[in-house]
Symmetry: C2
Subunit: 343 residues, 2 copies
Amino acid sequence: MTELTTVQLEAPYLILIGDITDSTYAKTGLGIVHWRPDLVAGQLRFPGCKVDMGVPDLSISEAVDAGVKSLVIGVAPVGGEVPDSWWASIEEAARAGLDIVCGLHFKLADFPVVAAAAEASGARLIDVRNPPAHLPVGNGFKRSGRRVLMVGTDCAIGKKYSALALDQSMRETGMNSTFRATGQTGIMLAGEGLPIDAVVADFISGAAELISPDNDDDHWDVIEGQGSLFHPGYSGVSLGLLHGSQPDAFVVCHDATRKTISGWEHYPLPSIKDCIEQHITMGNRTNPDIRCVGISVNTSTLPLEEREKYLADLSAETGLPCIDPLIEGCGAIVDYIKEQFED
Amino acid sequence: MTELTTVQLEAPYLILIGDITDSTYAKTGLGIVHWRPDLVAGQLRFPGCKVDMGVPDLSISEAVDAGVKSLVIGVAPVGGEVPDSWWASIEEAARAGLDIVCGLHFKLADFPVVAAAAEASGARLIDVRNPPAHLPVGNGFKRSGRRVLMVGTDCAIGKKYSALALDQSMRETGMNSTFRATGQTGIMLAGEGLPIDAVVADFISGAAELISPDNDDDHWDVIEGQGSLFHPGYSGVSLGLLHGSQPDAFVVCHDATRKTISGWEHYPLPSIKDCIEQHITMGNRTNPDIRCVGISVNTSTLPLEEREKYLADLSAETGLPCIDPLIEGCGAIVDYIKEQFED
């Protein structure tokens, strides 16, 4: 039997943002501070840094004294490289025994100085985008507990944000829920997870099954989605995740004004109606009771006076709660889920 | 731009079946001899071998003299291991400059003696199940030429056999067609291809696009399928392959008496009607003209007197040619394809 492993990070984190001058490139760090301040002990900044995440500045030795377990590289610069001048600090952290956590597109082990420092101290080098070895093939057996999956009319359309906001709303109303991460930023936020788009094709649904294991009957996994069933590049990931998640419920994430697949402009966005129907058609293979419980829309590109009407019309058309999670929050979707599943 | 690479094998082959005593375990070798005798120079057998593939016995030095380029491990033993006593011959072949081709679940490079011999001679060690690095993400652009994809109500239901038989029938009637391999045995048969189930999830449809590149307008790629859209373990592979293949046509492969997914007996087999409908619904994302052109049925488990009625009934129900490729051959499907696409 394969061991059930996902990527596991150890908190608290020291978040490295170095000497960046533009907060756009600190979105990983800022996301962690926004969503999971409880995981964050401080930030590591260098002279000239123009970004402040509003958490204590700590040196590496101060962080060690404060019980920090991991140095998280909190930037996502264009090109995906870390400036040469930062590596001395990363090496110092590894030598001091902090796990080094990175979601960029290189491998930490390819930096021999860092690898040697980590080996000497016993620290782990965690490339968040590397899935664990020995994943199982999906078995399709029914698991206990409830699951809600974020799906989308496209990639990069608010699935992670919607999942985090929905999980937060559920917990605020006293429900028993857990955000389940399927991508690198989500994994850093959750402290664990599995980068579903990086696993070998035969193991997509098996990996999805590991992400949301058996749980209490009243527990909800709120699962971060990936890609889209309608995406000419990534649909296989989305279907494997749908089948492996065996969701009871799904939320369609959408952008009010996007007309085509982002970066694949020769493909129109699917209609919300088609998106709901195809997820039910395909999803009922592993969960015959699957249903849509709401639509989470990014309305930031609509004129302010149009957004209420847009959401009201969509709600009338679909019979579902339609919200912008940044504005209305996910309360209406939580209410609908309770109505549908608690009786 | 990513280089467009697939696995490329060099013929002619010497096929190693060693000292096996049961032809069941020589199915890789026998498959190559059956379907692609033109690729085969001979067989390498050891004393005690009870299987004869009907091709010349050659020693490694005789094979080298005869211009052989690759030693293909032609067995698929239970457990996926090669007997210890065979490795001396594999090493000898590598030292003599023959590429070593293997589709089993270990890596040739993990055998240091073989690796050293190959390095000394310049021979390649080709693990057919290892996809090439640097695959692209699927772009979804329309390619020239025609494509027909084998799909299935389950795994291991005759997709490879059907593709090979259909390709052969098409060529016999003068059509311009190519079998496109997506799995290890298919790759050995075709001499090239890409093991689609072994690629990283984000690149499934990109890999499928490489497998059937632009071609002449009257050319047909006959693409080996993998998995099934209805398979709880492998559906992601199948959807990525469907979208990346952008098939004009598909053939449903089915087993007349199978009731449940093989090895996943808690899942019923889908109906042929549902199988056709879902492939059209999903497939029209990358090819709006996709249509089903026939059903290829394994009728070997039906009583002889029932098979004709079974196929006739299925044909009446679907309006499509329904054949057992081992018995009727694929001529009826070829005729239907001509009718549908040549005007």
